[in-house]
Amino acid sequence: MNLRGMIWLALEGLLRKKGRNFLTTSGVFIGVFALTLIVSLGQGLSRAVTSTVSGTDNLRQVGLTGGFGIELSNDPSEIEIAGEMDDARRERLRRAAVNRRQIRQVAGRRANAIDDRTITELSKLPHVESIAPVIVERYEMKLNGHESPATLSYGVDVGRRRYADRVIAGSYFSGPAAPEAIVHEYLLYRWGMLTDGDYAAVIGRKVKLKTIQTELTPEQQAPPMLQDFMRDLTDEERKAMNTLLPKLLKQLGQTTQRRAAEREFTVVGVLREQMPGDPFNVIEDGNAVQADLFLPQETARELFLASAVNIELGYPRALVTVTDAEFAPEVEQALRDKGYTAFSVASALKQIESVLLMITVSISFLTGIALIVSTLGIVNTMITSVIERTREIGIFKAVGATNGQVMTVFLCESALIGLVGGLLGLALAALAMIPGDLLAVRLINEKAAIPFDQPVFVLPLWLMVAGPALGTGTAILAAILPARRAARIDPVRALRHD
C-alpha cells in the first residue's frame, strides 16, 4: 500500500481546517509538554543525587555500628500473658512485654560489640573486601602551652590521599603507625593561630594526649562468666551483686582495670576544612567532620586500645568495604541479620531513587489526564471530519480505495495531529528547561548547604523519542473508532450525500 499517498491526502485534509486542527493539536501539545518536563525532572534529580555520591568509594562502603542488642528471636506471637483478664488488658500487657523484650542491653556493654575478634569473623561474610575499625575518640590534649579538655581525634587510613591533599602546612603522615599527628586549622584558629608563622611554630612540636578518665562499673570489671550470670538476674539481685562485687573482686585478687593512657606525638602538619568539590566519602569521612586532631590509623588504634574501657566496649564503628557496589545492600542486610546496625549509601540511594521514581510516575499519571482529555478532543474532531467528508469518502471508494485505505487516511490524519503536537510539546519542554534549570539551581542553592550546579532537568534520547511517540500513539488510538466508521461508509449513499 502506498502510505505516502495516504499521508498526502491526510495532510491535505488537515490543512483544510487549520484552526480546528490546531486547537486539537494543542491538547496533545500540552500533554506531551507537561509529561516531558516531569519525566525530565525525575531523571535530572535522580542523576544529580547519584552523581553527588557516586564518586570515590561511596557506593562500595557500608557503615557498621555495634548493635543495640536487639534480639533476633523477638517473635511477639511467642509471648503469652497468663492470668484471668479481659482481652483489652491482655493486649496491652502483651504489647508491653513485646516492647520490653526487644531491647536487651547489658549495662554499659553493647550486645554486639565491634572488636578485633568480631571484625575477623565478619570479614568472612561473602562479598566483604575489608573491615577497618573507625577510631574516633576524645582526649585531653596539650600542645604548645594550649590545653583542650576533650579534643576529638580521628584515625586516618594513611593510604587514602584525600587527607594528604588537604594538608596546607607541614607534611602528611610518614606511615600508618608513625607517632605523628596533624591538627585541624579550626583548632589553631580557636587558639588564635592564623598566620604561616603560627603554623610553623606548631609543626614539629609535641602534642600530648591523655585518656579521659572513665569509671568502670563493678559489673564491667567482672570476668565475662560473672557478667553472663548477672545478665539474667532480677533488678534487686543485680543491685545486691553490684554492692558485693567490689569486695568479691578484691577477694579474688583482681585489681581495678582502670588504665589511663598517655602518649606524645609530633605534629607534622595542618589540615584544612573539607570543602565542596573535595572527594567526599559519606560514610568514612562523615566520622571525621568534627575532628580537630588526626592520627595515623594504627597509632590511633594503639592509643584507643590502651584504655581498658575501650577494650571492654569495642570500637564505636567500623567501615566495611565490599568487593562491588552492587553487593552493598546485600552485605548491609547480612550485618543487620547479625544484630548490627548498618548503613550504606548504595541502599539509601536505591531508596531515594525509588521514591523519585514513584513521584515521577504518579505525577506523570496526573499529567496523563491532559493526554486523555486531548484524546477526547481528537475523537471529536475526527468524527466531525468523517461526517463532513462523507461524500469524499464515497469518491475515494468509487475510484478504488479499499476500506483499509480509507481508514489509513484518517488514522494518518490523526497521527499527524499527534506527531505535530508531540514535537511541539517536546520542543517547548526543551526550551522551558533552560529557565527552569536556572530557577531550580537558584532555589536549591538558597536552601542547600552544599553548592549545586547540576542540571535539574535531563532530557535523555529515549524521552525525546518517547514524548512525540506517545502523542502520536494516543492520537492514533483516538482515531481508530472514527476511522473505522469512515471505512464502513456505504459508497452509494455517500455519493448522494450533500
Partner: protein, 227 residues
C-alpha cells in the same frame, strides 16, 4: 465477447420493502455502448451501481470480466472498481479542495503510484480532455463542463474496461453536453465498453448502440440505437 452477464438480479431494500431491481437479466458485449432509459426510481441507477461494484445484489448473479461481483468481498470489490471500472456522475463528484490534477490522480493514489508519476499521468489525461493548462485549478474555479471533463479524465485514469456514466450531461447546457458526449464517445471508440444512464431518449438514440428502457426495476423494452 461478453463482458457483463447478469441473471435475475434483485436489489431489495429492507425485508419486504420495495425492490429497486426486480429480476433483471442482461448481457453486454465488449465494446458495446448501452443506454439505460427510464424515469427516476425505475432502477437504472441501482443497476449501474451493481455493475460498478458499489453495491451488491440481494439475489442473482452478476459476472463482469469473469468476476462474480455478488460473491466478492469488500476488498476485492474495491480492487475491481480500481482496475476495471470508471465512474462519471451527474454531479461530477470532485474533491473540492484538491486541484484538478490531484482529482484526476486520485485512483492512482490508491493504486500505489508514486506522486511524480501520478502528476505526469494526470496532466496527460487532462490534456486529452482539453484542460492541459488547468491542472492546478480547483473545481470551484471551473465551469460545470470543465468539472465534468476533469471527472472524465479521472474515470479514464486507470484505463477501465467498463465506463459507467450516470446522467453525465444532466447538469449541463446543450452546447457543453455535446462536448462532454464527444469525449465519452471518444473513450468508447478507444475500446471501453459503456453503460450510460439517462432520461433523455434523444441522447440515448444518438450515441448508444442498444437502448434498454427500465420501469419498476425491470427492463421493459430493448431497442437499437442510432450509433
Amino acid at each position: 465477447m461478453t463482458l457483463v452477464t447478469a441473471r435475475e438480479l434483485w436489489r431489495e431494500y429492507s425485508q419486504g420493502g420495495v425492490a429497486a431491481l426486480a429480476g433483471v437479466s442482461l448481457d453486454i458485449q465488449t465494446g458495446e455502448f448501452v443506454a439505460l432509459l427510464g424515469r427516476s426510481g425505475s432502477g437504472k441507477s441501482t443497476l449501474l451501481n451493481l455493475l460498478g461494484g458499489l453495491d451488491r445484489p440481494t439475489r442473482g448473479r452478476i459476472l463482469v470480466a469473469e468476476r462474480d461481483l455478488a460473491t466478492l468481498g469488500a476488498r476485492e470489490l474495491s480492487l475491481y472498481r480500481r482496475t476495471t471500472v470508471g465512474f462519471i456522475f451527474q454531479s461530477f463528484n470532485l474533491v473540492p479542495t484538491l486541484p484538478a490534477w490531484e482529482n484526476v490522480a486520485l485512483p492512482l493514489v490508491f493504486a500505489g503510484v508514486p506522486r511524480v508519476q501520478r502528476r505526469r499521468a494526470a496532466l496527460e489525461m487532462l490534456d486529452k480532455v482539453g484542460l492541459g493548462a488547468r491542472g492546478d485549478h480547483r473545481p470551484s474555479q471551473m465551469s460545470g463542463g470543465e468539472q465534468q471533463r476533469v471527472a472524465i479524465a479521472r474515470a479514464l485514469a486507470n484505463r477501465p474496461r467498463l465506463l459507467l456514466c450516470d446522467e453525465p450531461t444532466g447538469n449541463l447546457d446543450s452546447a457543453t453536453s455535446a462536448q462532454i458526449m464527444a469525449l465519452i464517445t471518444d473513450a468508447h471508440r478507444s475500446g471501453a465498453s459503456l453503460v450510460m444512464v439517462t432520461h433523455d431518449p434523444e441522447l440515448a438514440r444518438r450515441h448508444a448502440g442498444r437502448i434498454l428502457r427500465m420501469a419498476d426495476g425491470r427492463i421493459v423494452e430493448e431497442s437499437r440505437g442510432g450509433a
